[in-house]
Symmetry: C2
């Protein structure tokens, strides 16, 4: 199947979002991701978003130097495998790799595969979390390439990763650099000790702030989050990943949302002309006070 | 009645939010605002937030030089009236004035009255909209004082005004400058020509992006928005103000929300220690990439 390349003239882009559980078997994890891509492509997806570190059970709940054995080069085996699927399904794919850049230098890297299987670009996660259950600062060097959209045949993709989703700066910088949509591979879940009300607040917050980025910047946002209980014996240091992958439009309007308890593939047609319309009625970019934003680059100005 | 001054040791701050209709009678409009303050104070409010330009029917739907007659100095008659109420009710008040700074120089200015009736500080609206029904660029010079919280006996108030609420930069800069909460006097409504679905999207967007500011910055947000149909004969150029004033906590959790169709006063007790807790579990401020945010001060970097 060959689809026309999207241009400004084609109004619709169909996005697939794959959310799945992960276990100890790396090959099986990747097979699940690929099955999700194939499902989405069969249903018309031209662009497919995978979750963060989809090849692995989430390993950052402990600091274990042996886990660096999981890392690979980019390009490498995963970009090769995803590139093959991209070519076969005629889709553009946003994947996620634990990248070994050199000895002692690792990144949490989103990779974008073009429809012909080539690597269209990469994004190295800029904001790195570190809190109980998510000890990522041990594993991932913060990205050093900034916030640049990746040019593809389906548009200019503002690819960010998980913790970045809490930072309005990241969304804004991608927008200013010309991103047409924001895409967030994620791996976030509940601490088993939290009660139902706190869990609900956290998940709502996470959806809300990403919808906020859509609104502030007048563009669609898609997010893929892993799902499943990956608790280990160490009760305090593992997560119940909350899924809830979603796609929203440029007014933050929800177009599709997955559940919190199972693997799922969503396929959503977005109207590529809607950002143009929304930014005309709400021209936020016009009125930014760029003369007065300098202190954004400071830590605290109290 | 004398209440203790809030300090870091007192856990609760009770906020009142006043939402009301406005008509042609300026004195009656101010009387409604004052009645709302008194109601809130009777119910325990220590801080009361009024809506944008509460003394006036919204006059920016047309460009009429005669409307500059509505402006007044700061300090002036309105800060005097609100100061008297502040002293009498022992509340801190956030009001809104069409300020005449000098001939040909007018601002949309939030004024903060201390419990003793003095002016604690002012904030001049930084982001000025201009779209059908909201021709504010004709009336209001953009603020030149930046984003500085106002010190009061009830805390450091991050006062912003209406259109500012769409800008994550404004919320962030107030936070970095030490604001403990964000307060938005507003005047936003529906264009009568929009259908129900579009109205719903717009109002949801408006609530969502402000909840997003609470989440991104780990602090409470309160918003007072005018309510009522202020359509004139010129159908295209007036609004049905959608009310929906609200208070949310530092995870964006809704604590109170007004309806879209009537005057209303909300009183909400917020836990001043909750920001400390929330910022410990989600330490977004720790991980900001201030080395990489410089382009926020640019218009577009495509």
């Amino acid at each position: 199947m060959t689809r026309p390349t999207n241009t400004d003239e084609s109004a619709t882009l169909t996005i697939g979002v794959v959310q799945h559980t992960c276990g100890a078997d790396r090959k099986l994890n990747l097979a699940r991701a690929i099955a999700g891509i194939e499902d989405a492509a069969d249903r018309g997806a031209e662009l497919v978003l995978l979750q963060e570190l989809h090849n692995h059970a989430y390993f950052c709940h402990t600091e274990n130097p042996d886990n660096f054995d999981l890392a690979e080069s980019v390009p490498g085996p995963t970009t090769k495998a995803l590139g093959d699927v991209a070519r076969r399904t005629d889709t553009c794919i946003v994947g996620s790799v634990f990248e070994r850049r050199t000895a002692g230098l690792y990144h949490n890297t989103a990779v974008v595969l073009e429809r012909n299987g080539s690597v269209a670009g990469i994004y190295r996660k800029m904001h790195i979390p570190d809190d109980p259950g998510y000890q990522e600062k041990f594993y991932f060097t913060p990205g050093d390439q900034g916030f640049r959209p990746i040019e593809t045949s389906v548009g200019r993709l503002g690819v960010l990763v998980c913790w970045d989703q809490w930072y309005p700066e990241a969304a804004r910088l991608m927008t200013l650099a010309g991103a047409e949509m924001l895409l967030f591979p994620s791996a976030i879940g509940w601490d088993p000790v939290d009660d139902t009300a706190e869990r609900q607040r956290q998940r709502d917050s996470w959806v809300t702030i990403q919808r906020g980025h859509a609104i502030a910047n007048g563009l669609p946002v898609a997010c893929s989050n892993r799902v499943g209980d990956e608790q280990t014996a160490n009760h305090r240091s593992a997560s119940i990943f909350w899924g809830t992958s979603f796609v929203c439009g440029p007014q933050g309007e929800m177009m599709w949302q997955a559940g919190a308890d199972r693997s799922q593939v969503g396929v959503v047609a977005i109207d590529r002309h809607r950002s143009e319309h929304v930014r005309r009625i709400w021209p936020f970019l016009r009125d930014r006070r760029i003369d007065s934003y300098g202190d954004i680059s400071k830590r605290f100005t109290d």
